[in-house]
């Protein structure tokens, strides 16, 4: 009996709700629907609504971001002064951890553009295969990323900025620290790694969040740390690598000053047998699982863009207006389904662009 069968055998079979339970729940829901439920408005904290894709509040958010950036810049200046003087501005030693490292947000307000170089090399399949390419990510607003895949058809790097997950994005040091620790629900260091990478690559993560994620990263057990690593795009950072017998090796290169992630790399060992997936998805495309797969995504610094190419802006507008399904290549929902189902009709066929809004 394989592990899935064991789990299925243990599937609990709870009794359905009684008629009374059902009616009571329905009454609460419909009370909210009709606006009669006085507790209906704050159905969930903001964080949960963010997870669910709450509509953006551009004016407030941009103002808040500008304030955060300004505050962060001021704090960085203070931090530099403290570092040079060996302590607080008045000369007292630094003791509060939140002042040890508080990086600025390395992302400008959208729209901005990020260049990504992807490489994948696999020994699986009928012959060894290597894929290299470049992708340009255009983040139009808090919800919309358009990826220009023309230089790497089949690549899918939008996940580098879209897969937001359930993470704190702002708060006090204490709140954020507790929230970050709560995310580490598994002792497995790779799960910590995954959470940390996602948070550092989320443009909406505040300086406090980034600081806590960096702290958590550096405290991860079993890390190999190499300073002064130069990436394929010429940026210099610190590499944190983690090797794990069962799942392979993972590493990231991070700018130590602000936590910007310059590179994400992984090496997975061959997977065979009935449990192996049909294919393995990576930013460089899809690969056979029966070989050693090395993938590296190198991410350049974001560049503010006052205007995006007209073709892409038109595409985003047309897709928004039609409320059509996400096209293939997106990293949300089942948009990565390469069957062609759900392709957005307005996408110009000569453009290998993917429109990827948060659902």
């Amino acid at each position: 009996m394989d592990e899935l069968a064991v789990l299925t055998r243990h599937r609990p079979d709870p009794a359905p709700p009684t008629a009374a339970e059902r009616d009571a729940i329905r009454a609460r829901v419909m009370g909210h629907v009709s606006g009669a439920d006085p507790a209906g408005a704050p159905v969930a904290p903001d964080r949960l609504l963010v997870d669910l894709g709450a509509p953006p509040r551009p004016t407030r958010r941009r103002l808040a971001r500008a304030l955060v950036a300004a505050a962060a810049a001021a704090i960085v200046v203070v931090a530099v002064v403290m570092a040079r003087s060996g302590g607080e501005p008045d000369g007292t030693p630094v003791t509060t951890p939140e002042r040890e490292e508080l990086p600025a947000v390395p992302y400008p307000a959208p729209p901005f553009t990020v260049e990504v170089a992807v490489a994948g090399e696999s020994t699986g399949g009928s012959a060894p295969r290597r894929v290299e390419g470049r992708i340009t990510l255009h983040r139009l607003d808090d919800e919309t990323v358009i990826a220009d895949h023309t230089a790497c058809e089949g690549c899918d790097a939008t996940s580098l900025m879209l897969n937001l997950g359930d993470r704190p994005r702002d708060g006090t040091v204490a709140e954020v620290r507790a929230a970050v620790e709560a995310l580490f629900d598994s002792d497995h260091p790779l799960s910590r790694f995954e959470v940390i990478i996602g948070g550092l690559m989320d443009p909406a993560s505040s300086p406090v969040v980034r600081s806590e994620l960096l702290r958590a990263l550096r405290s991860t057990e079993g890390l190999e740390v190499t300073e002064g690593v130069t990436t394929a795009l010429g940026d210099v950072g610190t590499r944190y690598a983690l090797a794990e017998a069962m799942f392979g090796e993972y590493s990231i290169v991070v700018d130590p000053t602000d936590g910007y992630v310059y590179e994400v790399a992984s090496t997975s060992e061959p997977q065979t047998g009935p449990e192996a997936p049909d294919e393995i998805s990576s930013p460089a495309g899809w690969f056979a699982p029966d070989g050693r797969l090395v993938t590296v995504s190198t991410i350049g610094r974001p560049v503010p863009a006052d205007a995006v190419p007209a073709e892409m802006a038109d595409l985003a507008t047309s897709v928004r207006e039609t409320s059509a399904a996400r096209p293939g290549g997106c990293s949300s929902g089942s948009g990565n389904d390469r069957s062609g189902a759900g392709q957005v009709p307005p996408v110009p066929p000569h453009l290998a662009y993917a429109y990827c809004p948060r659902p």
Binding site: P14, P17, A44, D185, S191
Partner: protein
């Protein structure tokens, strides 16, 4: 409401949800269709006393975010399970609890009907449940969610992708990782159904 050849019902969930955007009361139809499934989702994961609040929260959130429902999706269940997953995650974290404790509470009943074989099977299942729950608890949350949606909630890979808002390829990776880790965890504990070769 009529059955369609593709197994969906008329009007489809999407049609009902779209209509509820202008006629909110129609949303009651969404509740009527899926309340039992969402109730079961939570009842398999948390003590029953906590389930009604979570079901209500899920549908209230669903109503509040119905404008974002992708009308191209005929069925609403993966979308609702996605919301339920977030509600559950928030609920457990808010209470600073680990799901394993609840999974143990949600373990299969040790009573069984259907004859001696069924009783023996149920007893074996109850005996091996602590090991399964412990192995599940060692999984990363995102991996465990995907695995339980597959094994307990009968979602397809594509539906899990929709529910958890990740690409299908990521679902494959998570399930593969979860199964390997679960298998390794179970290997450390002898299966009561296996004969003792020692």
């Amino acid at each position: 409401m009529t059955e369609r050849t593709d197994g969906a019902v008329n009007p489809s969930d999407a049609e009902v949800i779209v209509r509820s955007r202008t006629e909110p009361a129609v949303f009651g139809e969404v509740f009527d269709r899926h309340a039992d499934a969402v109730f079961g989702f939570f009842a398999r994961r948390v003590p029953r006393s906590e389930v009604p609040d979570l079901v209500a929260e899920t549908f209230r959130l669903a109503f509040d975010t119905r404008a974002r429902f992708d009308a191209e999706r005929v069925r609403a269940r993966p979308w609702l399970y996605g919301i339920a997953t977030n509600v559950l995650r928030h609920h457990l974290r808010g209470a600073r609890r680990h799901q394993a404790a609840h999974l143990r509470l949600a373990a299969p009943p040790d009573d069984a009907e259907g004859g001696e074989a069924a009783v023996v099977d149920a007893v074996d299942a109850a005996a091996s449940w602590p090991a399964v729950a412990a192995a599940l608890d060692r999984l990363a949350e995102i991996d465990r969610e995907a695995l339980l949606l597959l094994a307990w909630d009968d979602l397809s890979y594509a539906e899990i992708a929709e529910a958890t808002d990740v690409p299908v390829g990521t679902v494959r990776s998570r399930l593969n990782r979860a199964r390997r880790q679960l298998r390794a965890g179970l290997a450390r504990t002898p299966d009561p159904q296996e004969p003792d070769h020692g």
